[in-house]
């Protein structure tokens, strides 16, 4: 073997390592960067302890998140609903959070909560069909949200503006509900349960 041939072989092997290193670094960069550049955070207007409230009420989630007469769902309870237990002039706790809450209560203004699970406008979703008719537990789609003691920051997609919960925490988006709620997940569940999955079922 000539020295020229030997050098070419050595060189070739080392170069392929470089390609592999680039591949690993690039891929890691992409996995790390995707959520970092894509999502921004917003703080909720104030904190809320779901766990604490659940211990106080008698009808679990339904105590505040009710189905209305017309079948629509009270995703965010009205301030009047809060007033059923709270009074504006007698705080039930101390601290900045309670004070901020009472401001809304005094002004009779709705609290501008940021909804983690809000679907795009083009999606029609009936809670009645899924809870009252199909008998789904809230946690099936919302996870342990009802057991949390504080609200995590609301993360939203800088490009689309949608909540990160729709795509899911993972950058690849492979998980299903409750960690992700994309159209594929709806379609999969509809297929599995023999429910019509025509476009117009969800897109009205």
């Amino acid at each position: 073997m000539s020295s020229h041939q030997q050098g070419k072989k050595q060189r070739s092997r080392a170069d392929w390592i470089l390609l592999f290193v680039g591949l690993v670094v690039g891929s890691a960069f992409g996995f790390w960067l995707t959520p970092t550049i894509l999502y921004a955070e917003k703080a909720q207007p104030l904190q809320f302890n779901h766990k604490l409230h659940l211990e106080q009420v008698s009808d679990s989630c339904k105590s505040c998140h009710t189905l209305r007469e017309d079948g629509s769902f009270s995703g965010i309870p009205s301030i009047q609903s809060c007033m059923e237990c709270h009074e504006a002039d007698s705080p039930m706790g101390d601290g900045a959070n309670e004070a901020a809450f009472l401001k809304y209560l005094k002004a009779n203004q709705p609290i501008p909560w940021l909804v983690y699970s809000r679907q795009p406008d083009c999606v029609f979703f009936s809670h009645a069909a899924h809870t009252a008719n199909a008998g789904f537990e809230c946690a099936r789609c919302h996870g342990d949200h009802g057991q949390t003691t504080k609200l995590r920051p609301y993360e939203y997609n800088r490009i689309t503006g949608y909540s990160r919960d729709i795509w899911g925490k993972g950058p690849i988006g492979l998980s299903g509900p409750p960690h992700r709620m994309k159209m594929d997940d709806c379609a999969k569940c509809h297929s599995e349960n023999g429910v019509n999955r025509a476009c117009f079922v969800c897109h009205k």
């Binding site: 992409g30 894509l38 017309d70 988006g173």
Partner: protein, 772 residues
């Protein structure tokens, strides 16, 4: 390892590949596509509180709910029309016309947004302000009245029973013009047949509780009565929630209704009434009629000089002869009649015909006689008299002065004949007209003869159209006044055709109207107020809302009524009805009609002459009895017009008096509208073969009134020697989605007057078909 260009490239390529192996690129691409859908200029509805509001569609009489979203683009926006589950007739169902109503409401291209004035010379339109427009109209009317030419004002309205119709009648009467007519309606013929035989005008068919239904050409599944209630009754005969009914359809074509029937009796065109008479004849011969009902009737047996129904029917309608004449097998006719006579709750249904017209009064009377022989009047599943709707009169329709109308009132029992008015005005006999008011109904498209109405509008010096849409009537008007859509404004409607219970619907403003639109009633009130004097005194309301409140005073709190949107009789009024006839009984021989015509004839000797002059072919012997007369339009057969044209209705089109939505045109099958815009007419293969016409050929269907060009579809279910033309297509207006699709049936339909009712009829037309 050397760090050189080649090494760098390998590292860079690896990096790029690595990034592509990560979700970075793919996720960004996905999000970018979603981002483009959310650009600020892409119309996305804003969020807002959703609410449902009740209302009633005046076009179908169906109770619906509208989903409204607050805070959308400009105030509240309607996003959907659904059925109202609380309404006893519709029970939550809708028809295509109601479900797609928003397509017209929010179609800016076809809504009239401001009063428009057309320059006669150039045809250009210029917008006007409301005060200018009202001054122009009121000035024109006042001028004619001042010159003593009030009869030169003619008005055509849509529904005389609506409050808008009542206000139009009041306005015309106070101006001193008798020349007013409304969209001709089968309800009028039904009322007249009821009046002369029962002394009752408001009644219907208890289809939901009937176990044996015989329909004489009635398009039950193509928009009969309250269409949802009819379909629900139909469903109940077919297994849900009970499988109880036998249904027979007597019709020349295998229509949707006929194809769903247990028995289809394919008869020759216009012979339905004769078959009803033959069924009466069979029931009498076999002794299968209700003895009790007949004993408590008048005119079954001979009365004085006049033959009774029994002897008349037996003499003139022998079963074999009628079956042969109508082209139906006698065995089938006999089986149908025996089934009808023996069924527990049988009913015979009639009107409106396939063209949506008023139909022939003697046919209605013949089927009424059949129901009477069955003894089903007032019984569950039979013919049921409705309760009166508790409405108070609005306005004052009493006419001032003695003005000769364009059409003599002696020409029939009903004076509502827009066709006859238009003809008389066109011919200038006895006089012409100066001003034409078109208040809904779209007469220039819907006719009855579209050509005549178009000619009249062209010839009249001043034409005013009050309409929400730039429809065919608006296209020929000199002054177009924008009225509200039924989801935007106040209005009302009464019981749909044939319903066994009385119902009343009221609609109110649910969303903000297009900027300048006013309720049609408000426009009439504003004109009356500007005219002052008699018109203002006859219509003393500040607004349409006030007029409606006054009219419905007996229904309780107006706000509650408006919110509920309807009043309805709780359940059918079963039990022996009160016959308000001269004899106080059901009259096979109409004593009331005899007295009325005797009064008009003045001398007994002139009665036969009067009956003949009205066009009753059966003569004096038959004039006061239910009987069958050959359709007048068929007299043209053999004069180079060998075929009979008949309309094909569909739930996916309207009969033309209401607007057709783009959705309805889109869902039409290829057997009605093919190749996007070609009208499809049906012919029997044997008839087509004789004329050397093949499937898909283009033909021209000619009548004495006009013609339609269409593609031929050969259909075994079409009776021979006939051509079936879809009705409700061929608009020139309503935007590109609706205009230019097919051709207008009313452009070729021949209109005659019914000899007894005096109403226009256009169910059948003699035509020739030529390949083009």
């Amino acid at each position: 390892m050397q760090w050189d260009r080649r090494a760098f490239i390998k590292l860079a390529v690896g990096g790029v590949l690595g990034i592509h192996a990560s979700p970075l690129v793919w996720k960004l691409m996905d999000d970018s596509t979603i981002w483009t859908q959310n650009w600020s200029w892409v119309p996305v509805p804003e969020d807002g509180a959703v609410a449902f509001a009740n209302t009633v569609s005046p076009q179908t009489g169906n109770a619906v709910q509208t989903r409204l979203v607050q805070g959308r683009v400009d105030g509240t926006r309607a996003i959907r029309v659904e059925g109202n589950p609380a309404h006893p007739l519709g029970k939550g169902g809708v028809v295509p016309e109601d479900a797609s109503a928003l397509q017209l409401l929010y179609n800016d291209d076809i809504r009239v947004k401001t009063p428009l004035m057309r320059d006669k010379a150039t045809g250009k339109v210029v917008p006007l302000s409301w005060p200018e427009a009202l001054d122009l109209l009121a000035g024109n009317l006042a001028d004619l009245v001042k010159k003593g030419n009030a009869q030169g004002i003619m008005a055509l309205g849509h529904d005389p029973d609506s409050t808008t119709g009542q206000l139009l009648l009041s306005l015309m009467a106070s101006l001193g013009s008798p020349n007013v007519a409304f969209t001709p309606d089968a309800r009028e013929t039904l009322a007249l047949a009821g009046l002369v035989m029962m002394g009752q005008t408001e009644f219907g068919f208890d289809l939901a509780n009937s176990d044996y239904v015989v329909s004489f050409g009635t398009p039950l599944l193509e928009g009969f009565g309250n269409p949802v209630a009819t379909r629900k009754a139909f469903a109940s005969w077919r297994g849900y929630p009970k499988n109880s009914g036998f249904f027979a359809q007597i019709e020349s074509r295998a229509s949707v209704t006929a194809s769903q029937a247990d028995m289809w009796l394919a008869c020759r065109p216009g012979t339905e009434g004769a078959l009803a008479m033959a069924m009466c004849s069979i029931m009498i011969q076999e002794g299968l009629y209700d003895q009790n009902a007949v004993e408590n009737s008048f005119g079954f047996n001979d009365e004085g000089d006049f033959p009774g129904f029994k002897s008349y029917v037996l003499k003139n309608y022998p079963r074999e002869q009628v079956a042969a004449m109508a082209g139906v097998p006698l065995s089938k006719l006999l089986k149908l009649t025996l089934g009808f006579a023996k069924a527990k709750s049988a009913v015979a249904v009639f009107g409106p015909g396939n063209s949506g017209g008023p139909g022939r009064m003697y046919d209605y009377m013949a089927v009424m006689a059949l129901n009477a022989l069955k003894g089903n009047i007032g019984k569950p599943g039979g013919v049921i008299i409705q309760k009166d709707i508790p409405l108070k009169p609005v306005g004052n329709p009493g006419i001032a002065g003695n003005v000769q109308p364009l059409v003599s009132p002696i020409q029939g029992l009903d004076q509502n004949n827009p066709q006859a008015l238009a003809q008389a005005a066109l011919e200038g006999k006895p006089y012409g007209i100066n001003t034409l008011l078109l208040v809904g109904g779209n007469f220039v498209y819907n006719g009855p003869s579209a050509g005549t109405m178009h000619k009249l509008a062209r010839q009249t010096p001043f034409v005013v159209a009050i309409t929400p849409f730039l429809d065919e009537s608006a296209m020929v008007a000199d002054l177009v006044l924008p009225s509200t859509h039924w989801l935007e404004g106040w209005g009302d409607s009464v019981t749909p055709y044939g319903s066994p219970v009385a119902s009343y619907g009221i609609h109110r403003p649910l969303i903000k109207a297009v900027p300048e639109a006013k309720d049609a009633g408000d426009i009439l009130l504003a004109v009356a107020a500007r005219l002052g004097g008699k018109p203002a005194a006859a219509m003393p309301y500040k607004s349409m809302q006030e007029a409606l409140a006054a009219r419905t005073e007996a229904m309780g709190d107006f706000e509650e009524l408006a919110e509920q949107s309807y009043w309805i009789q709780e359940k059918p009024a079963y039990g022996a009805p009160k016959f308000n006839t001269p004899s106080g009984k059901f009259e096979f021989f109409s004593l009331g009609l005899f007295k009325l015509l005797s009064g008009r004839a003045k001398q007994p000797a002139a009665l036969a002459q009067l009956v003949a002059s009205m066009g009753v072919a059966g003569g004096l012997e038959a004039a006061f009895l239910p009987h069958w007369e050959a359709p007048a339009a068929l007299a043209d057969l053999g004069t180079g017009m060998p075929l009979v044209m008949q309309a094909v209705p569909s739930l996916r089109t309207t009969w033309g008096d209401d607007a057709t939505t783009p959705y309805m045109v889109k869902v039409l099958p290829d057997t009605m509208l093919a190749d996007k815009d070609k009208l499809v007419v049906e012919m029997n293969p044997s008839t087509a073969h004789e004329l050397h016409i093949y499937e898909g050929d283009m033909v021209r269907v000619d009548s004495t009134e006009g013609s339609v060009t269409a593609k031929v579809h050969l259909f075994e279910g079409a009776a021979p020697d006939m051509v079936f033309v879809p009705v409700g297509l061929g608009h020139d207006a309503f935007g590109f989605q609706v205009a230019g699709k097919g051709m207008n049936f009313n452009g070729a339909a021949k209109v005659t007057s019914d000899p007894m009712s005096g109403l226009p009829i256009w169910e059948l037309t003699a035509v020739s078909v030529e390949k083009v």
